[in-house]
Structures are given as C-alpha cells and as structure tokens.
C-alpha cells in the first residue's frame, strides 16, 4: 500500500488539488455575496507585499517622471530667468529713455515758451578738480555755443558757458565760487549779485539794508550782468542777515537742483546789432 502511494504521489496530489479547487469553487458559488475567508486571508497576506512592490514601482515611476520634469523645469527656469532678466533690462532701458524724453520734452516746452534760440545739451562730465562747480556738456561751437551763453534747466537758471571747444563746452554752475549772477527780488525789486561759497548756501550780496526782503520771495535774473536774460527764475529767499556797511546778506535756495543735472538748455547769444 505504501508502495502504491509512493509511486503515484504526484497524481494523488493532482487530484487533491483539483478537488480542493472544486471545493473552493463550490463555496464561491454557494455564497457569492461574501468574499471567501481563504481568499480574504490570501488577499490580506498578499496586500502588504503588493502594496509595497507596486507602490515602490509607482514611486520609482513617479520619481523618474518628477526627475524628468524637474530637469525640464530647471532648464525652463533658467531660460525664463534669462528672459526675465533681458525683459527687465529692456524695461529699465525704456524707463530711462522715457524719463529722458520727459526731461527733454520739458526743456522743449521751456524753449518754446522762451522764444529764444537755444540748444539742448547733455551733461557728460563734471569738474576734474574739487575746487570748482562745473559740468562738461556735449555741445560746443559747432552747435552755436559761445562763452557766456546762459544755461537753464526746467526749474531755473543753472549757469553759463565759460569754455567752448568745437564739440564740447564747460558750464560754470551758479554754485561755483567764481560765479556771479545779477538778480532781483520779485516783490521788492531789490537788486543784487548772487554768489556762492564752497559748501555753503548761495546768497545775494549788495542788497540795501533798507530793502524789505520777504522769505519765500522769488529771486529772478535782473539782466544787468548782460549774460542772463531778465526774468528767469533763480530761486527763493530763505533768510536775510545784516552784512557789512549798508547791505544785507540774503540767503537763497536755488530752484534748480544743479548737483543732479543731466540735460540743460543753453540759450544762444543773440548777434549784437
């Protein structure tokens, strides 16, 4: 008998398994509403493995996809950054150009309102020593500039031309220690000379001590120096102090910011008849 089982073991196993399957099938058929216990157990046992294996595979897949995406994103990011930088530079350039056009437009308006022959010039440099207050302009004799041509900004008088070459000129600012502008006060009509001292506020000399000076009063060019046309705005009175002899010293704040000049309007000299 033992011999029989030994020689036909595989077959017996086959039959048992088949029967077992049939039993399983039969249980499934009989209670189709519920998951068979064995199946559920099998599923429960298999679940963690499946979960991790499939999860791992999908994680790797996601990781790989992310990596690919990241690589693309990085390249795209670098490209976009470059584009943004380029756009930013372009915008900055445009903004600067717009500001410049605005300033030049203001000068053009001033030119039109003055009705005097003039030239717009750009500041290309400043004084190479720290003793003078001057600017170097990009226009010279060829553009019609000459010595003593007055220069204005949109806010008021800024100085006069003191040196001229063919294509450039030196503009002496009204804040220079050697500068002197003939001025008058708008209300009192008191006349004087606007002067400057290094590092100090400009002031008007030779205003009689009997003149009534009002703080905030406009200071205009008098035209008596034969350089600046009469009536151009120079600044405003800030204070007044008694000076030597019969004069008072009138402090002035300039209407134009001469330290930040970028473009100026230079009035051409009218030919003397």
């Amino acid at each position: 008998m033992k011999q029989f089982f030994k020689t036909r073991l595989e077959w017996i196993l086959l039959v048992v398994v088949l029967i077992g399957h049939l039993v399983l099938l039969s249980t499934r058929l009989s209670r189709s509403e519920q998951t068979p216990l064995l199946r559920a157990w099998t599923m429960e046992v298999a679940y963690p493995f499946l979960k991790h294996v499939v999860g791992s595979v999908s994680s790797v897949a996601v990781l790989w996809r992310d990596y690919i995406d990241l690589r693309h994103a990085r390249e795209e990011n670098a490209e976009l950054k470059g584009q943004i930088e380029q756009y930013r530079r372009t915008v900055l350039g445009y903004e600067e150009r717009i500001r410049e056009i605005g300033r030049l437009q203001v000068l053009s308006d001033l030119e039109a309102s003055l009705g005097l022959p003039s030239v717009k010039a750009r500041v290309i440099g400043a004084d190479p020593t720290h003793w003078y207050q001057s600017r170097i302009l990009d226009k010279g004799r060829e553009a019609g500039l000459a010595r003593d041509c007055p220069a204005l900004s949109a806010d008021g008088v800024v100085g006069r031309i003191v040196q001229v070459s063919r294509n450039s000129s030196v503009l002496q600012l009204i804040t220079d220690v050697d500068s002197g502008v003939g001025v008058l006060l708008e209300n009192s009509r008191a006349q004087g000379v606007l002067k400057s001292e290094a590092g100090h506020q400009p002031f008007i000399e030779y205003v009689g001590s009997s003149e009534e000076v009002v703080v905030g009063e406009k200071v205009l060019t008098s035209g008596l120096d034969q350089i600046y046309p009469k009536g151009l705005l120079v600044g405003y009175v800030t204070d007044s102090k008694p000076a030597k002899q019969v004069f008072q010293r009138v402090g002035v704040t300039l209407s134009a910011n001469v330290s930040k000049l970028e473009e100026v309007l230079v009035l051409k000299k009218e030919p003397r008849s």
């Binding site: 020593t129 720290h130 170097i136």
Partner: protein
C-alpha cells in the same frame, strides 16, 4: 623703443586718472578725492626723477584746467610744486613703508590745497574763505585712497617695468 612705449603707457595712465576724475565727479559731485594729484605723487615716488614730476604735473594740470572754469596753469603749477617737494622729501626719507607714504600723501594733499588757494588769492585776486575742514577731509581721503591706488599703479606698471 621699450622706453618710449613705457613712457606712453604711463602717460595714458595719467590721462586716464583725469578722465576717471571727470566721470566720478559727474556722479559724486561732492567727491573730494584728487586722483590726478595721487597719480603725480605716485610717479614722483616711483620714478624718482624730477623730470617725470614736471611732465606728469604739466599734463595733468593742463587737462584739469582745460576742463574747468579756472585759468590754465593753476593746477599744473600746484601739482608740479607739490610733486617737487615730495621728490625732495623722497630723497631724505624712505617712503617704502605704508605709514610714511600715507603721511606724505596727506601732507602733499594739504600743501596742494593751500597752494591752490594762495595762487587764487595772489594771482586771481579772489577773496577766498579757507574751509579748513574741507581741506583736512580732502587730505585724509587722498591719503587713504592713495595707498591702494599706489598699489594698483604698481601692479599696472610692473609688467612695463620688467
């Protein structure tokens, strides 16, 4: 030929200091640094030749005066005079130490300022008010900026000297 090229290079450096000064003061109007003076003093100390002081002082002074409202000769005179004094000091004291150089730059800068003002009062009949604080500050700035600039000039002129 090599000497000519070397001299040309040095002159270009000198001219560059004036150009740089023009640009610097364009954007920093209150700058008290006098780069061309520092360049002249450097040449005086480095070359140990009065000829170089005169040449560089003349070139720098002429350029500065040309681009300024002031009369020609004012800056040239100042620079040559101060350069010559530095040259004389150079023959007496060893100026290879940083502190000595700093002191020499400071004193030279003060002298240049005083001489400039004196010339304006004497020759141009200007009623100058001496701003001592400004002159001292200018001296300090020139001395402090001068040391690294000396080093830079040395670096620039080294290949030419070899």
């Amino acid at each position: 030929m090599a000497n000519f090229l070397r001299s040309t290079a040095v002159l270009i450096i000198i001219v560059s200091t004036v150009v740089l000064q023009v640009l610097l003061t364009r954007y920093f109007p209150r700058l008290l640094l006098d780069l061309p003076l520092v360049a002249v003093l450097y040449l005086t100390m480095a070359k140990e030749s009065l000829l170089w002081t005169i040449l560089s002082g003349t070139v720098v002074g002429f350029l500065q005066d040309s681009l300024s409202p002031g009369p020609l000769g004012l800056n040239g005179f100042t620079k040559i005079a101060v350069g010559s004094l530095t040259y004389m000091a150079n023959t007496v004291i060893a100026i290879d130490r940083g502190a000595t150089r700093w002191g020499l730059l400071f004193v030279s800068s003060l002298l240049a300022a005083l001489l400039f003002l004196a010339l304006r009062i004497l020759f141009l009949n200007r009623n100058e008010t001496m701003d001592g604080e400004r002159i001292l500050l200018s001296g300090l700035i020139n001395a402090c900026a001068g040391l690294p600039l000396f080093y830079l000039f040395e670096k620039i002129s080294q290949p030419a000297n070899e």
